[in-house]
């Protein structure tokens, strides 16, 4: 028997699909910032969800313990992912389901298309799912002559408008109800031409439209929020019930799920069912939680499939500093508290995963060396609001800094290997100079001797209003004060005298005044 050596699989396998910036973040952000409608909608929507989340989180006395439990469970899952996946596979298969393993987006898309074709279907209904957005399933199916209909109301709005989601929980957060009415009037078959922008009327129009799809579809495609290894159970958490329709009515159900969604068992689900609704919609409990375990004869889907997706997850898991990004349960709390996201919206990030989590998850899945994803880790002021809000305590600011370090190092390596192909940037040179200046008191003291030049540049207004190069970013909206006549170091050396013994509380010498002078001690 002869064997063909196929070679070792090359590791890590990075993710492909809708995981990339379309243009550098600062450029995309600039465009999105110029859209006042987007700013107004986003500001209103994120503020509303933020307040709701805070209210339901603060009513739980053990919220911090729950977060810690969520973090610990996820960490242990990541540590023993291979064995838990095998346990899940055994249980899922024993109960009549079929598992498919997909290394990347391309494999996953081909598997799903083949399963749909096996049923002779040309239409599928879809449950809202991040994984299928990530792999670009709808676009792929369209190329294959299969129409995929989104059934989540917001996803439906976005799909009808030929747009992209801008938020992982509320994909149409960038649209207001008048815009939604216009989209329905333009794109929805058989819609009432007198449709108004009242939410109830809009929902009724969507309901009538979707009902026709639910009753005719032979195949449904879903994602999953959780998978329980000890029983082979899948779970979808939703608000509208449209997911429930998809999960129960069609004959065939195909689920696409990232491997990191696994939980050991039912006890663990208890923790996440408290964390997720409160963090995402700001509700104590979500309206619909659907759980299914394999096939039940004559009840619900009779062909049940699960595509387990890697698409860069193993690569992210291999990154010791970044792997906790895989703990993400896609609640979107980090987006709703992020001052950057609130102003730019989700489209500026390019990837399916926007906001703070997207700024780390996307480059972790694709590899930070992917040129087209290296501006994302800089899309944060590192204010830390995301870390505080995260229900599984992902330290997003630390991972952002880690990825920035990887980015800078990878460019340094490229310079080292390819000689003059890439010259050091202004930032590189500035950081190098600053490293020298700031690595000894003596050096800093020397540099400070040049500060009078700054005073000269500031002129009689005592402020600098225009700087060249990368510093122009600062002066586009901010002045810089003229440096003081004397640095603290100079004052200390020349004018500060050690105080005489004994406290002098109450009778204080001058300090913090404009004119520094020798100190008198009482």
């Amino acid at each position: 028997m002869s064997g063909t050596f196929l070679g070792m699989p090359s590791l890590p396998v990075f993710g492909i699909g809708n995981l990339h910036e379309h243009e550098p973040f600062p450029k995309a952000a600039r465009r999105e910032l110029g859209n006042p409608q987007l700013r107004a909608n986003l500001g209103h929507a994120t503020r509303t969800i933020r307040d709701k989340r805070l209210a339901v989180v603060s009513e739980l006395p053990d919220w911090e313990e729950l977060r810690e439990a969520g973090r610990a469970i996820k960490e242990s899952v990541m540590a023993r992912l291979p064995e838990l996946l095998e346990e899940f596979e055994a249980n899922f298969t024993a109960r009549g389901g079929t598992i498919h393993w997909a290394r990347d987006a391309g494999e996953a898309n081909r598997i799903v298309a083949a399963l749909i074709r096996d049923q002779g279907a040309t239409e599928v209904v879809k449950v809202k799912s991040m994984a299928t957005q990530e792999i670009g399933l709808n676009e792929y199916l369209e190329e294959q002559g299969i129409a995929a209909f989104e059934t989540d109301l917001a996803e439906l709005i976005v799909q009808l408008d030929h747009d992209k989601p801008s938020h992982i929980l509320v994909p149409a957060i960038h649209k207001n109800r008048s815009q939604v009415r216009d989209i329905f009037l333009r794109e929805m078959e058989g819609v009432d031409p007198e449709l108004t922008n009242e939410p109830a009327r809009l929902a009724a129009a969507a309901r009538a439209h979707l009902r026709r799809k639910f009753l005719s579809a032979k195949v449904a495609v879903s994602g999953a929020n959780f998978a329980l290894a000890d029983s082979g159970t899948l779970a979808v958490v939703e608000s509208e019930g449209n997911g429930r329709m998809c999960l129960t009515l069609p004959e065939t159900l195909i689920t696409v799920m990232g491997v990191e969604k696994l939980l050991p068992g039912w006890e663990d689900l208890e923790v996440f069912m408290q964390l997720l609704p409160r963090s995402s919609t700001g509700e104590r409990m979500n309206p619909y939680t659907s759980l299914w375990t394999g096939v039940t004869a004559d009840d619900g889907p009779q062909n049940v499939h699960l595509v387990l997706l890697d698409n860069g997850r193993s690569a992210a898991l291999a990154d010791e500093m970044g792997r906790s990004a895989l703990h993400c349960i896609r609640c979107s709390a980090c987006m709703n508290v992020c001052p950057v996201y609130e102003r730019t919206g989700g489209h500026a990030y390019g990837s399916t995963y926007p906001g703070p989590i997207g700024a780390i998850l996307s480059p972790l899945l694709t590899g930070i060396t992917a040129e087209e994803n290296n501006s994302l880790p800089y899309a944060s002021s590192l204010c830390g609001a995301c870390y505080d809000a995260c229900p599984v305590k992902i330290n997003i600011p630390d991972i952002l800094v880690h990825l920035r370090g990887e980015d800078v190092d990878s460019k340094r390596d490229k310079r080292g290997k390819r000689g003059r192909e890439r010259l050091p940037s202004q930032m590189d040179l500035g950081m190098k100079a600053a490293s020298w200046a700031l690595s000894s008191g003596k050096n800093l003291g020397l540099v400070e001797k040049a500060l009078p030049l700054g005073r000269l540049a500031a002129g009689p207004d005592r402020k600098i209003t225009k700087l060249p190069g990368i510093a122009a970013g600062w002066t586009q909206s901010r002045d810089i004060p003229a440096p003081p006549g004397q640095t603290f170091r100079q004052w200390w050396d020349k004018e500060h005298q050690a105080p005489a013994a004994g406290p002098g509380a109450g009778a204080a010498p001058a300090a913090g005044t404009e004119a520094p002078g020798p100190k008198e001690n009482p």
Binding site: A29, V340, A434, L438, W474, R478, P484
Partner: protein, 267 residues
């Protein structure tokens, strides 16, 4: 108590009045302040911009400077720089494979306090007017900087100290916990987003009708003050240390280092 002052690079070079005020407050309480001459910077700008290799000598210098002299605690008038000393320094050392430096950095970090932490938690200051003679007859508002709030969990320490200053009037800042948009090199790399965040912050500040916005980090105050100056708002910024150091005899002038158009000074 012997207290080592970490002035921080930005205060040393640009806002010396903040460090002088810190010295004044501590000496007024009867403590001896020393200034380790080798100090320069915490290196946070390098770390947060991804230049960890360049950050290493800066971190190593800080650790060296702050283990030379004998002192009880170190203090810096900055939440952000203290958070860097405590959280980032050991990480930078670890990443470079220097376990010795990591342990030394952790030891320095344990002894380092942010100013309001030191005043409230260690030195027991609860009433600035009574204990420090603080007097500042102005209407102010207060911005809590992100790193002090979220990395050091300073809570209301700075605000409570300000509340206890004689003659002061505090106006609450709406959406105070929103970042001002500084973020170090973020303000240049993502200048548009940063400016949009700043515009909301300055609008909230101006809406309070305060003469100035106080805070605990010179860098954020430079950012906010730079925006207020550009807008010609007539409102300025000031570090809370300078407000605590202000007395009836020696009042702090309200017009800060970014001189503003109205020429509004102490009344």
């Amino acid at each position: 108590m012997r207290i080592a002052l970490f002035a921080t690079c930005i205060v040393d070079a640009m806002y010396p009045a903040t460090a002088r005020a810190t010295v004044s407050i501590l000496e007024r309480l009867g403590h001896e302040v020393i200034f380790p001459a080798g100090q320069a910077c915490c290196g946070q700008m390098h770390v947060n911009s991804g230049y960890l290799k360049e950050a290493l000598p800066v971190v190593a210098n800080h650790v060296k400077a702050f283990e030379q002299d004998e002192y009880d605690v170190a203090v810096a008038p900055s939440g952000s720089c203290v958070a860097s000393v405590q959280h980032q320094h050991p990480m930078v050392a670890r990443r470079s494979g220097d376990a010795g430096l990591e342990a030394r950095a952790a030891a320095v970090g344990h002894k380092t306090y942010e100013l309001s932490q030191l005043l409230v938690d260690v030195l027991g200051v609860t009433d600035a007017a009574a204990q420090l003679g603080s007097y500042f007859p102005h209407r102010i508002t207060y911005h809590p900087s992100c790193h002090g709030m979220r990395l050091l969990r300073l809570g209301d320490r700075q605000l409570d100290l300000l509340r206890s200053v004689g003659g002061i009037e505090l106006a609450e800042l709406p959406e105070a916990e929103q970042c001002c948009g500084f973020g170090g090199t973020f303000s240049m790399k993502n200048a548009d987003v940063s400016s949009a965040m700043l515009a909301d912050k300055t609008a909230n500040i101006c809406g309070t009708g305060a003469d100035l916005c106080a805070g605990g980090d010179a860098s954020c105050l430079m950012h906010i003050g730079g925006g207020l100056s550009r807008q010609g708002s007539g409102v300025t910024t000031m570090h809370f240390a300078e407000i605590l150091a202000s007395t009836v005899e020696n009042p702090a002038a309200v017009s800060g280092d970014v001189r503003l158009t109205t020429g509004r000074t102490a009344r």
